[in-house]
Symmetry: C2
DNA sequence: CTGTTAGCGCTTTCAT
DNA sequence: ATGAAAGCGCTAACAG
């Protein structure tokens, strides 16, 4: 690779002039400008970004540590993020991490000058990070430092209101191992019930970390005495699992039981779509990039993103 | 961030000694060693990798341009790749690209000193790249430059042999828009038929780029005169689409028609798994990393990876 | 064993 | 308008 020295020599000017032409380009005689341009062209010269980085103390690289277990959802994040980042001349440095140790190791390796900022996405374990230029996205500890959180209470409330309006008044809730814990989800759930003057039935709620299929089985086993006609689950994978299990017990979905995903929905041919809350990855990415671009980082604090209610088209249903 | 100067000052030694302690660490008096270590610890000093990169002319970054349209499969690639790369102190710089223009732009932005090498994955369009340190993975033009290709002929032959042994002798083939074109697939298909003394029926083959659902419909419309009891499709998404369509026409899968995916299979609860060829992302990643690690790049040429035959467990089937 | 020096490729004063 | 020189943070020769 040719360097700025080669260009300056060939063009018969100094390094400084070459630099001026290729960057600011102001206050340079047209003749020299042309000479530089020609020389650069001839040598296929491209400024070395590493040297520039050393000087500017910034690389344009954003580290993204993906701690999501739902690998399916990760791709959505990554695609949206990369699109937005590259539009702003930023690069996405990808790492996957499955536990706190791996996250910390990745952090260690990314924050030695390589990355200007780091994003941690979807961690379902405590992190206790306070670093100013690390953003937590959909992570467990959103209270500390900068973060983008999903409004799980809003999601649950929306879900319940929708289900209730559909005539589903017995809504079961299974194992929502959401970022901010179970509380927000329960909060939204209860709020919707209250607003609709519906009683709260503790037996329909399964919030412990144990297997969600066991939880559903408990519901099914008790279904003679404990009625439910709707089921709230954490995400599209949980939904798919639940639907399979329900159908194995001759429960029709959604006729007998309407399954609602609190985060995303599977969109595959041959698989009936279900109502769900979906978070706009694009909106999230835009938000993140906006934050990265303003130098005075500390202002974000915690930003809460609300999801859209997605209603499947039921017109074709028998 | 503190620099090597801060450390040397605090430790009362020269930069060189600090560098020696933190890298090679040989031929340094124990006293100075301790002083340096203590000072570094105190200042939380971490060598700036950008400065190191400028000197060594290598960043440890590997650009990965993901041109795959099956976003589902991309994640598999990325995860495996990242795991292997990070084990070798390399970083994955991610870009998505949907056409030649975007690929070229990404290439432009990554090869200015930022990345030591670049991978292009899953491009289904001509690229014409000859650069020594760009690897094409599962791309269309695998003949030029370094590349890792999937053995599609082997996959098709394996698939057909499996199907024939299962008693399926009328095997339809739809629209395999594979990396190396359709030829290898057809080659493998024909080879298997020949080896089993079966006739080749041109009417069962649909290789034009038009809609695969139209192709399947043609097959279904002609199914009174043109029998087929197996169907080869390009990937798991095509398979899912095909299965849905078949079932809508009262064809049972796999009883009436066995669908076989030539690349990967969906693995979701409630969805019957189908026989498929699956390429080990781990093997591929290992191969790539091995190649990246040997400095004398040019030796790879073209490497061909064969996929595994995955047979679904049919014991529980009624 | 350790400090001094040079230099990786670039940008940016500061003179001229 | 432009060149010389300094310096970003680091490592590697070269002396001592």
């Amino acid at each position: 690779m040719s360097t700025i020295n080669d260009v300056s020599r060939l063009a018969g000017v100094s390094k400084a002039t070459v630099s001026r032409v290729l960057s600011g380009s102001r206050g340079v005689k047209e003749a020299s400008r042309q000479a530089v341009l020609k020389a650069a062209e001839e040598l296929k010269y491209r400024p070395n970004v590493i040297a520039q980085s050393l000087l500017s103390q910034s690389t344009g690289c954003i580290g993204v540590i993906c701690a999501q277990d739902n690998i399916n959802q990760s791709t959505g994040y990554l695609y949206a993020l990369e699109k937005h980042l590259s539009q702003h001349q930023k690069h996405l440095l990808l790492r996957f991490a499955n536990n706190k140790g791996e996250v910390m190791q990745a952090l260690e390796e990314l924050t030695c000058g390589l990355c200007d900022d780091v994003l941690i996405i979807g961690a379902r374990f405590e992190l206790n990070i306070s670093d100013e230029n690390i953003i937590l996205v959909d992570c467990m500890d959103g209270d500390t430092g900068n973060s983008i959180q999903f409004d799980h209470a809003f999601a649950a409330e929306t879900a319940c209101n929708f289900l209730i309006k559909q005539g589903r008044r017995q809504i079961a809730l299974i194992n929502p191992e959401h970022a901010g814990g179970v509380e927000p989800v329960l909060l939204g759930y209860k709020r919707a019930l209250e607003n609709n003057f519906l009683p709260f039935n503790r037996n329909l709620i399964f919030t412990d970390a144990s297997s969600s299929s066991v939880a559903l089985q408990v519901l099914l086993n008790n279904s003679t005495t404990l009625n439910f006609n709707a089921l709230l689950v954490a995400d599209e994978l949980e939904a798919q699992r639940a639907i399979t299990q329900l159908q194995a017990f001759n429960k029709s979905v959604p006729d007998d039981i309407m399954v609602f995903s609190l985060a995303g929905s599977l969109n595959l041919p041959g698989i009936p779509t279900i109502p769900a809350i979906e978070y706009s990855m694009d909106a999230m990415a835009a938000r993140i990039v906006a934050w990265l671009n303003q130098k005075t980082h500390s202002v974000l604090g915690s930003y809460v993103l609300r999801g859209d209610l997605i209603i499947p088209d039921m017109s074709g249903r028998k």
